[in-house]
Symmetry: C2
Subunit: 313 residues, 2 copies
Amino acid sequence: MSIPITESITVIDTTLRDGLQIEDRVVPTALKVEIARALVDAGFRHLEIGSFVNPKKVPQMADTAELYRELGSLEDEGVTLYSLVFNAKGAQRAVDAGALQVKLVISASEGHSRSNSDSSIAQAGDRLLAAIQVLKANNVAFEVGTAVSFICPIDGPTPPQNLVSILEPLVAEGAAGVGVADTIGNANPRMVRTGTKAVQQAFPDMPITVHLHDTYNFGIANVVTTLEMGITRFDATLGGLGGCPFAPGAAGNIGSDDLIHLLHREGYSTGIDTEKLAGIRPTLTRAIGHPLSSKLSTIPAVPEPAPIGRASR
Amino acid sequence: MSIPITESITVIDTTLRDGLQIEDRVVPTALKVEIARALVDAGFRHLEIGSFVNPKKVPQMADTAELYRELGSLEDEGVTLYSLVFNAKGAQRAVDAGALQVKLVISASEGHSRSNSDSSIAQAGDRLLAAIQVLKANNVAFEVGTAVSFICPIDGPTPPQNLVSILEPLVAEGAAGVGVADTIGNANPRMVRTGTKAVQQAFPDMPITVHLHDTYNFGIANVVTTLEMGITRFDATLGGLGGCPFAPGAAGNIGSDDLIHLLHREGYSTGIDTEKLAGIRPTLTRAIGHPLSSKLSTIPAVPEPAPIGRASR
C-alpha cells in the first residue's frame, strides 16, 4: 500500500459532448466556453467539445464550430480538442472549423446501428471511410471507436471479435488511437475485460480510450478492471452527466470527479485539481437546471486521509 | 467470457442489523419478521438480525431477542442467524435468546474505538475475550471481525498488521470465521486488497467475510477486487440501507440487489432470486419511510441480456 505509483492517467472530459447531447435545455455557447475554460484551469488537457451531426436532430451540438472559434487557441497551450464525426459532411465541417483531430464512432451492434443511425454497420463503416478521406486530405488526425462495445440494449452481448473486425479497416487508414465504449453502462467487468483485451491484442500499438457509463454501479469497477489491464485513457463527464438518446435505460457517464478521486486514491496522477473541479459543478448545474449524479456531487466532501504514518493519533 | 463459472458466493443479509440500526424510525418487530421471512423466501441463507447492545443507546436493536423467538425455527430449515455481541453481558443475552452463532466486532483504530465504545482497542478486546468465555461455555459459535479495517475517519488509513494483531488472540479462542469491514465506505480497492490479504495470509484456514459500504462509488469495485482474491462471503443490505452512527459522512452498505446483480452477471451463483428480492423493497421502504440508495432501487429494471449466441437479431 505504501509503494508510490507515479503512472499518469489521461482523463478526457466529454461533458460538453456526451454530457450535454441529451439535455432538454440547449446550453448557450458562452456557458459552454466558461465550463471548458474552467476545466482547462482545473488541469484537463483533453476536451471533447461537440459533434458535427445534423443540428436539426441534435440542436445541443449545433454550436460545435463556434466552440472551435472560441476555444481553438487553447490548443496552443497544449490542450487537445476533440469532436465527433460520422460522415464526410461532418468531416468537412470539422475541417472548416479548424479541428486538428476528431473521433469517429461506429456502433458495434446492428440493432444499435439501425436505431442510432438508421443504417447497417457496413453502411456506417462506409460513411466513416468517406469521412476519413476528407480528414486525411486536410491533415486532420482521427481516432476510431465503437459504441455498445460490450453489450447492446437491443442485440445483447457484443462478440469481442466484432470490435476487431469493425475497427480494423478504419485503423488501417491511419488512426491515431482506438476507443471502446459501454454506451449504455450495462457491461460488467468480465465483459469489459474480454472486449478490451480483444482490442488490445488486435491493435497493440494503438492508444486505447475506455468510455464508461454507470447505470448499475459497475462504472468504477470497470475502471479498476481496465486499469489492471494497462488502460491509461478514460472518458468522463463532470458529475456523471449524460446518457444515450438511442439506448433506453442508459444512465450518465462515469463522473470525472468520482473517477479522479478513485485514480488519486489508487496512486495514479492525473494533473487535475479536484477542488477546482468541484468548483465547476455549480456552473454546470446552473447550465442544465437539474442536479448531477456522481457520488461526489451528492455528498459532502470528506477530507482525504493522510498516508499511513502521517495519520493523526 | 463464455467460460461458465459455477462458484457460489454467500451473501449475508444485514438489512435488519446494519441497515436499520441508525434509522430514526424504530421498525416494529412484526415488520422485521416479515422482511426476514421474505429474504429467506428469496433465497438468503444467512441473516444478521440484530445486536445485543444497550437498548437505551440503540433502541432500533432492542427487540433482537424477540426476533430470535420469531425467526429461530428458520435455522431448522438451514438458515443461519447472526447477531452482534460486544461484551459478556451481550453474550449472555445472546445465549438466553437461543443464538447458535454470533459475530464479535472490534474497531481496528483507536479513534473509532473511543468514539464508538468509549474505550481503547485493548479494553474492547478484553471485553470480547470475556464474551467468548460465555459463548464457549454455552457452545455458541462466534466469528470475529474488525470495523474500520482499511481506513478510519478519525485516524486515517489502518495499518494492515493492526488487523492481524487485533484478530489473532480472538481467533485463537476458536473463532469460526473472520471479517473485515470498510465501515465508512472510504476505502479504495488498493487499501481493501492490502488489508484483506494481510488477514488471508495470517488466517489461511478461516472463512473471511468482507463488509463494504458505498460512500464514494468504490463499493462494487471493492467487491470485484476481493472476488479476484478468492473472497466468497459478503455482507450487504437490501437497497443499500445503512450507515455508521459514529463515522461522519458514512453512506449505506453495498446494496444486496446491486451486489447480486454484479455476481450473477460475472458468472457466480448466489441462490438468490433477484425478482423476489426486488419485491421486498416496497416493504422495506414502507418500514423506514424514505427511499433506498442502491442503483437498482433507483432505476427501472432492464431485462438481463441473453448470452452471446442467443441474442436477438
